[in-house]
């Protein structure tokens, strides 16, 4: 599957969304139900540096809650963002962040054909693939095969690098009407924890 690197104005977006999350989760903690089993998790990630390119292979375990499945079935596309952060480990002091990427993928339902469409979010719609079952679509959505991410800054030779990965549902990409519900409902809180992976050379 071709991968697209969506390195947009990530920092600004992240700050805003983080702030919203903090506000939403702290202001309305009582509305959040206990954590359900459904949700996103990072399965296995195998990062490797080849010159100034980070190649990432791996898979994500993506499970949706019935609410989210229903929304997708009703024609609401969902976007998930795979956040990747490359750090250089440093002894005694904090690790230096080298680069940050956000891979954005979309899952939608095509009612006429009864297919789930998976694709990266870009201007070109041809990158989508159709699947007859949701599980297939989710498997495809969670597959990270040979994603190549370019690193702008020069890397220190033999630097000990680590990659932090997490996958989250982008509530801001939902229709505006759904966002207040999504922010305040645990059904839509599918985000995974940050996971750390050693980068091979």
């Amino acid at each position: 599957m071709p991968a697209c690197i969506s390195v947009s104005n990530i920092a600004a977006l992240r700050i805003r969304r983080s702030a919203l999350w903090v506000l939403a989760t702290s202001a309305l903690p009582l509305l959040c139900a206990p954590a359900v089993l459904a949700g996103f998790a990072v399965g296995t990630i195998q990062p490797r540096i080849v010159e100034r390119v980070l190649q990432v292979n791996g898979n994500l375990d993506l499970t949706l809650t019935p609410k989210v499945e229903e929304a997708i079935g009703k024609g609401i596309p969902v976007q998930l963002v795979i956040d990747l952060r490359l750090f250089r480990r440093r002894p005694l002091i904090w690790d230096e962040r080298i680069e940050t990427w956000g891979l954005r993928r979309e899952l939608s339902y095509h009612a006429l054909s009864g297919q789930y469409l998976v694709g990266s979010v870009s201007a070109v719609p041809t990158d989508r693939e159709s699947f007859t079952s949701l599980n297939e679509a989710l498997a495809e959505l969670g597959a990270i095969d040979g994603v190549a991410l370019s690193i702008d800054e020069p890397l220190v030779a033999n630097a000990d690098l680590r990659l932090d990965v997490r996958v989250r549902l982008d509530i801001e990409a939902l229709p505006s009407l759904l966002r207040p519900v999504a922010y305040t409902s645990s059904d839509w809180n599918l985000n995974s924890e940050w996971t750390t992976w050693k980068v091979q050379r």
């Binding site: 009703k74 024609g75 009612a111 699947f131 519900v181």
Partner: protein
Amino acid sequence: MESAALKKYLIGVVPLTVLSVLLVASLFMMSAAAQNSGFLGRIYSVLLVVNLLGISALLVLILFNLYILLKQYRTRVMGSRLTLRLLLMFVALAVAPVAVVYLFSIQTLNRGIDSWFDVKIERALDDALLLGRTSLDAIKQDLLKSTNEMAIELEASSDRTVLPALNYLREVHAVTELTLFAQDGRIIASSSQEGPETGTLIPDRPSDTILARIRQGQTYANIDASARVGLRMRVVVPVYARDVGAPIRILQVLQTLPSRYAKLGESVQTAYAEYEKLVYLRGPLKFSFSLTLSLVALLTMLVALWAAIFSARRVVAPIRELAAGTRAVALGDYKKRIPVSSHDEIGILVESFNEMTRQIARAQSQSKRSQREAEMQRAYLETILTHLSSGVMSFDQRHLLRTHNAAAGPILGIDMAAASEQSVDWLAQTHPHLLPFTDTIKSAVRAGGREWRAEVTLTEDSPNRRTLLLRGTLLPGLKGRYGGYVVVFDDVTNLIQAQRAAAWGEVARRMAHEIKNPLTPIQLSAERIRHKYLRALPEDERATLDRATHTIVEQVESLKSLVNAFADYARPAQVRARTIELNHLVRDVVELYRVERGPVGADTIALRGAEGKERGANIKLKLELDATLPSFLADAGRLRQVLHNLLLNARDALAQEPKPSIRVITRHRVEGAQSFVEFCMQDNGPGFPPDLMDRLFEPYVTSKVKGTGLGLAIVRRIVEEHNGTIAAENLPHGGAIVTIRLPVSEAAHEPEEPTTIPGASARRAHGEPGK
């Protein structure tokens, strides 16, 4: 300062107005954002959070305002109660309609949104989708059938010769793209009717899942919705090899749907998807609209609440200031002025208040001035009354003593402090000797005369029998009635005594005149008879005549000296004052009675004893003269007579004394502003007879056989001529002392021509009574 600035920001108009306007704008944007997916739609969450935070801030500000108001209410700050009442009224007027509108709006909104969704429309869309799927299924089945046929035809074709076959089959079956894959998914050959202009030179590859299914011998036929050029049908089937054991190949047919089908299908899909989305988002839409509406209602209510607080404060402010002003006036601050901030009724009220306080202040200052003047007048009167020698007492209508002056107590001989606020009867009960005094007052008041005079003699303590002259006047009271009365009284005892003494003097003068005239002819006649007939008479009768004429002459002499004494006493005061030194005078007089000559100035001198048959022993006279004694104005001759009289009295009194002694003392005394020269003569004789003590200084009072009884009377008269006082008393261990006090006037310091002592002609009777 900082606190005031902070308060201004927290309860001021500007911050709340700005916040409210911003919130209204934000809510408007949020409302718009809920319905479009543009920029506002992207910042919907931000707008929501901003609104929530803004409303929270507004809420905090309003709560802060309410807290301040409640605090003021509890501490009873002026105007806070009215503000709170107005606030409650405003809130009731503003919030209740908003709440009603809100509830109805929510209900209408929910119903309105529900009315968008119709079961028939939903079923129609479902049916349209089903119809679309059915027609597509028919195409799909046809295509699957054609593909299977193509697969059978291709079974015999080798990989190298398959391309023409593919082209042929594509042409024959009129499909868009025909691709043959190896079992591992590698493209063997492909035929497409699409040219390079479409930009896809590489044939579309089915997904691994599809390939896996085909390898298992299944077929795949479905619409491909992921295509870039609208809908197309994808059919994938296995192509079995004729040779046993040879790997299967995979044939994929892609058939772009006819544009009419595609458009209709897309239209149905889009409409269905949109409707489904709308149906799904019905709940969130209601929630979102309700949220927006609630926020708007909340904002409106909060703004109304704040406006109520602000308006109440604004309305109450002048009233509060007015109330504070009245309180200040009540506490006596008449300079309080309230700024006139409006020209409405309250403005008029404030102006009236200012005018009122101005007038009160003017009246008050006038009253203060009057009070000051009254105070001064009172102090003036009090000073006069205090220094008045007459006693003054004022009583109210109930005969209770209201005021009295300092002289009243000594004149009445009572402690006036205890008598204050007491009745006239109380005075009589507590001090029985005042009974005639109080009876006179009561009877005079009862008589009802506006002014009255009376003379009262206080006889209770007979040795101090005193005569008081009373003058009473009714005091003016309210509404023309009389409010009480004032009694002014003088102790006229001494005046009466002086009048009596003057009368005695007149009698003495006349008697002396009448008696002295015939004395000389009598004496001359007796001497002539003796001279003429003494020799002519026989010897035996001569002695008789001699004795008789001698007696006549002697008695006439005695009468003459008596008459002279009378004349002296009765002589009008003619004091020729000049500056004298009393000590010198004393020494001069004492020298005359000295036994033998000795050094002048010695303090202890021997005097001749009393003359006559019973001549006494020599007297030891001790002078204790004050060296600092000031000189003063006095008639030296008259004072010399005083000293003579006193010294002779003392000498006569010591006639029977075995160790007679006299002490003559001079002292300088200062009492207040008054300066006195005090002269004392003390002897160790028997003292004055107690029965004569009261009348010692009256004429013809004497204990001596030969005395005229005028010595001390003359002494007293001379002393009084010098405005002095005299007192006599017996000493506890025997003997008597006579004390004379003479005032030292300022003029005495400069030696000048003989002058008359002021007031010397008016005899003052301040002699200590009872000596």
